[in-house]
């Protein structure tokens, strides 16, 4: 469970161009949620995902990840939290170009110390589910955008994190591939019980999620 209490986040704090990116956010995300943060461009969706994912710091308020208060953790502790509990699907895929698809998917597992055997088994399982099992030996730049996006999802999912944060996962996909991806995400959520949070203004996602949190200029306007 993730809990945000009175969270405020500024950019360029105390400067003329100060931006109040998140204003007094109060939010509870239960385990197993399938939720979308929606809103116009610049409303703070990405910023919200980043602070939940311990990628960015906040200026006031509290964020609890289960019992841990993220804002009190050291940089190293937050890195460990990200590694062990969170899977990221970045808008720009952010795959590691020197590693094959197989190695990319298994990378987080490897960092977490899973055995090679376990990794292999899991990679096969996930890649079959995401229909990229025929590309395992390829390098990322030999894949199409949709395929890379699926590899990014596979990497986020493979190590069985508690929660997956997906920022604009369909931005680079056509509607057919977007639908496919959403179906698979939904399947993952239902089969494996992973919480998934999206940030997007894609209608398609809007129609598949169970909960929508609407933001406007850093404020939650609808839940």
């Amino acid at each position: 469970m993730i809990k945000l209490q009175h969270v405020n986040k500024y950019f360029y704090k105390n400067e003329a161009r100060e931006i109040h990116a998140l204003c007094d956010i109060n939010l509870t995300i239960e385990d197993g949620e399938f939720t979308l943060f929606s809103g116009a461009s610049g409303c703070g969706k990405t910023t919200l995902l980043n602070v939940i994912g311990a990628l960015d710091t906040i200026d006031s308020g509290k964020i609890f990840f289960d019992e841990k208060e993220i804002s009190l953790l050291s940089e190293d502790a937050r890195t460990t939290l990200r590694l062990n509990e969170i899977g990221f699907v970045f808008q720009a895929y952010n795959l590691i170009p020197v590693l094959s698809v197989e190695e990319n998917i298994g990378f987080v597992m490897k960092l977490r110390g899973f055995s090679d055997k376990e990794i292999k088994k899991r990679v096969l399982e996930i890649s079959a589910m995401l229909e990229i099992d025929d590309k395992l030996k390829s390098l990322p730049n030999a894949l199409s955008g949709g395929q890379q996006q699926r590899v990014a999802v596979a990497r986020a999912v493979a190590a069985k994190p508690k929660i997956i944060l997906a920022d604009e996962p369909t931005a680079n996909l056509d509607s057919k591939n977007s639908q496919k991806l959403m179906n698979m995400m939904r399947e993952l959520n239902e089969k494996e019980g992973v919480s998934i949070l999206f940030a997007s203004h894609d209608e398609l996602i809007l129609n598949s999620v169970r909960r929508v949190v609407k933001l406007n200029d850093g404020v939650i306007v609808d839940d």
Partner: protein, 406 residues
């Protein structure tokens, strides 16, 4: 981490090759530069020393370590008779050296005053060739003195001027005389030029009561390649436990070593060189890492700790530098070795730099495996040091900022 480092190296081939080439070039330059410096420095010293040091010199045991009148050779004539029988010797001569005070009306300076046999010295040493003003000593020169240019400057003396000498004679009695400067020499060896002066031994022996005595006997051999053989023969023929006969190699080594200690200039230019290399390597590493900020940012976001990132950089640089050093080691060694045997020859350089003690157009390298390995190790180490700043630089980014970096 190791396999990721290896994959990075293989994937970014150009970058890896550039790093290897850069390490290769800096290691090569550094090793060659030091070798050239050591080599020419050594040959400069040797050449200058050869002006006065004989191919073989015979001492009474103890003279070189302790010195003083107790350790003078006191039977020059008897030894001379034996030396005359040895075939390989071209010429030999006795020298009597003492330390005394030279003074004019205003200044005094300590000097090593040598009693030498002028006619023999002309053949034996290049002392007479180092003349820059006046003339060399003659066999029957009476109170003439031939002195180093720096010593003359110190005492403000010119050819024809008079200078007072005070010292102690070979029997420890008091000795004093007035000398007249007949010539001034310059070897280029500062120490020597600022302390040495020479007087005809014939005359000096009367003053110092040193007839039939000598500090040592210096010998020129017919063929320098035979010096070891001739030396063995001398030892056999003399058959004396109280004497030692040494070749120039032994004599020179101790002197070269002693003089090298104060070659500060060399160390300064060396450290400058190192600083330049360090910055080149570091700036290159920095540019390299800067172009990878996004890559490291992604790794940090996914959950790679700072120490793992460091390990990654460390593995990469170790693999690349190790490879570069392995390639450069034999090549650099060979080059040093080759040019130590076949010195580079630059026509006219001796003329140009005569004042600095360069007496030959040959510029040899110095081949010393220890020095070469040490210098390679220095470059290797610099490579490692050079990753620290870039590493700190990438850590100054928040992971999320870094992952968006373009």
């Amino acid at each position: 981490m190791f396999s990721l480092a290896l994959k990075n190296i293989l994937f970014y081939k150009n970058r890896s090759i550039a790093t290897i080439v850069l390490t290769f070039i800096s290691a090569m330059l550094f090793v060659a530069y030091v070798s050239l410096m050591d080599g020419s420095h050594k040959s400069m010293l040797e050449n200058s020393l050869k002006i006065y040091t004989g191919a073989i010199e015979i001492y009474k045991k103890g003279y070189r370590d302790i010195g003083g009148n107790e350790y003078l050779i006191d039977d020059v004539e008897e030894i001379s008779k034996k030396l005359l029988k040895i075939d390989g010797i071209e010429i030999f001569s006795a020298r009597y050296e003492t330390y005394g005070l030279l003074s004019n009306k205003e200044q005094s300076a300590a000097s090593m005053v040598g009693g030498v046999e002028p006619d023999k010295e002309r053949v034996l040493s290049s002392l007479s060739l180092a003349l820059i003003e006046g003339e060399f000593l003659k066999e029957n020169s009476k109170n003439s003195i031939y002195m180093g240019v720096e010593l003359a400057k110190k005492l403000k003396l010119h050819v024809g001027d008079e200078v007072a000498f005070i010292g102690s004679a070979s029997d420890n009695s008091f000795a004093a005389d007035i000398f007249k400067v007949c010539g001034i020499f310059k070897t280029g060896l500062f120490e020597f030029d600022s302390t040495a002066s020479f007087v005809s031994k014939n005359y000096f022996d009367k003053l110092m009561n040193s007839k039939n005595r000598a500090s040592y006997i210096t010998i020129k051999v017919k063929n320098l390649d035979d010096v070891q053989k001739v030396n063995s023969e001398i030892i056999k023929v003399l058959n004396r436990d109280d004497l030692e006969s040494l070749t120039w190699k032994t004599l020179m080594d101790t002197m070269v070593e002693a003089m090298e200690v104060d070659s500060i200039f060399g160390y300064i230019s060396l450290s400058l060189f190192l600083v330049v290399i360090f910055f080149v390597v570091m700036i290159y590493g920095f540019v390299n890492v800067s172009s990878r900020i996004k890559e490291f940012g992604i790794l940090r976001c996914i959950g790679l700790s700072k120490s793992k990132i460091f390990l990654l950089l460390f593995y990469e640089i170790s693999m690349l530098s190790t490879l570069a050093i392995i390639i450069v080691a034999p090549i650099a060694s060979y080059i040093c070795y080759h040019y130590s045997i076949n010195p580079i020859i630059i026509d006219g350089i001796a003329d140009m730099y005569k004042d600095y003690g360069i007496v030959s157009d040959e510029i040899p390298f110095d081949f010393n495996m220890f020095t070469i390995l040490r210098n390679l190790a220095v470059i290797y180490l610099l490579n490692f040091l050079s990753i620290f700043y870039p590493y700190m630089y990438i850590n100054s980014f928040k992971p999320i900022e870094a992952s968006k970096h373009v």
